[in-house]
Amino acid sequence: MPLDQATHLALLAEFPFEWNYIRSIVRVSLYVSLVAVTLSTLCSLPVALLIGFKQFRGKALVTSIINTGMGFPSVVVGLVVLFALSNEGPLGSFDLVFTPEAMIISQFVLATPVITGVSLAAVSSVEQNVRDAAYAMGGTRFDVALVTIKEARYGIATALLAGFGRAISEVGSVLIVGGNIAGADGESYTRTLTTAIQLEARQGRFETAMILGAILVVLVLLVNAIVVRLGSDDGGYR
């Protein structure tokens, strides 16, 4: 059903947010999720490389833990992180409760199994012959790892996108550890798109919630598009 002019204007007139509010929410969402995914990637890739090419006792167990972690409920992660960061918890002295950094931590925990698991699958599919070739050409173990990552780059990109999707779309953990805080001036401190949507929906403002939801979807599509574009550019500089 197309929006006729009157409805369109009415929607905008009712729109209670200033551009500043939305911009700050998007900024917080991106900041938290991008940093979390970046940190997670730095940890996940070495782990995936390690696990992928070694046979060790308990490898099946580790792999199934990773796979379980992929679907781990975000609220539970939020609770555990909140407890850890709370004043009374083991990491209380860092004063991280209700900060964006706490949200980064909980999203790191959520994204890592996803990124590790998918990267592991991607990296394992790199043939040993190719790795041997890199080694035989005089590569160090690190060089071989780099080659493996490059060979598995499309799968790894998928892993990153999956991790990012999980992070930016979740609401359970960031709500609990972040507190959904926005300043009196409308500037978001720990309010993300997802927690803002939940807030609007809770108050019955479904249209506003839908608009925020649309922004979130566009954001995810944009990030996907950028990564895919970068991937297809890969052959550009030969």
């Binding site: 070739a133 080694y135 030969r238």
Partner: protein, 254 residues
């Protein structure tokens, strides 16, 4: 200059070699022949310093490579090039494949600088990779995707990849088994060019005619041992070991 001495090596408790010795000398092609599964690849991998032998020594110019530091061993390893039965090229351009050996030998600053130059589209190679591609007759395909090459072309690029950094030793593991006669000839031609540059070549093959065409010496690997080694003509026409003759005549069933 690359020598395997008195090698005993096994997998899962089963011996593959019992007291095998072989040397690769500069300016000479030695062919390793034997039935499939006898361990030609294993021997080449030991020579390429992939793994240490269970017993025995692998020496480079007299130095036992497994008794020195990892860094020194890396230096020695980098004087060796290897081509496998499958081309196993990287998912990149022909150029990047050919120059890989050169890149890993550069300092990290140079490597990063090169990556950045690639990103902005400036191409400046050292030329050695181009020369290597010329040796295998593939210079004009330098900017093509490795994945678009035929099997024979890919193997030739793999050869160029190993040749580009001017190794002292070239180890070839049945490099032409899957190739058509034309590409086989191109590879063999490249082998001879390498030999003429004083590179020491060891080539594992089950094609005795190939051995006749390119090898100066032949080593016969049979029943966990090198039962015979000597100048090509001598081994093929008057082998000292009975089993050699039976193998050459195709009488031995394995």
């Amino acid at each position: 200059m690359l020598t395997a001495s008195d090698i005993y090596h096994g997998y899962d408790g089963e011996p593959v070699f019992e007291n095998v010795s072989l040397s690769v000398t500069p300016g000479e092609v030695v062919a390793i022949i034997g039935p499939s599964g006898v361990g030609k690849s294993t021997l080449l991998r030991l020579l390429a310093l992939f793994d240490a032998p269970d017993r025995g020594a692998v020496e480079y110019d007299g130095t036992d490579v497994w008794t020195v530091s990892e860094r020194r061993r890396l230096e020695l390893r980098r004087r060796i090039g290897m081509v496998f039965q499958e081309a196993s090229l990287f998912d990149a351009s022909v150029r990047r494949n050919a120059e890989y050996g050169l890149r890993v030998r550069e300092s990290w600053t140079d490597r990063l600088r090169r990556e950045f130059a690639d990103l902005v589209g400036q191409r400046n190679g050292t030329g050695a990779e181009i020369e290597a591609l010329e040796t295998v007759g593939l210079r004009e395909k330098v900017d093509q995707d490795a994945a678009s090459l035929s099997g024979g072309e890919a193997q030739r690029v793999a050869f160029a990849r190993a040749l580009a950094y001017d190794p002292d030793v070239l180890l070839l593991d049945e490099p032409t088994s899957d190739l058509d006669p034309r590409n086989t000839a191109l590879i063999e031609d490249a082998v001879l060019k390498a030999r003429d540059r004083e590179i020491g070549v060891a080539i594992a093959t089950h094609d005795m005619h190939q051995a006749e065409r390119v090898a100066d010496r032949v080593a016969v690997l049979l029943e966990n041992d090198i039962i015979e080694v000597g100048p090509t003509e001598g081994v093929f026409e008057s082998p000292t070991d009975d089993r050699t003759r039976k193998f050459i005549d195709g009488e031995l069933i394995y």
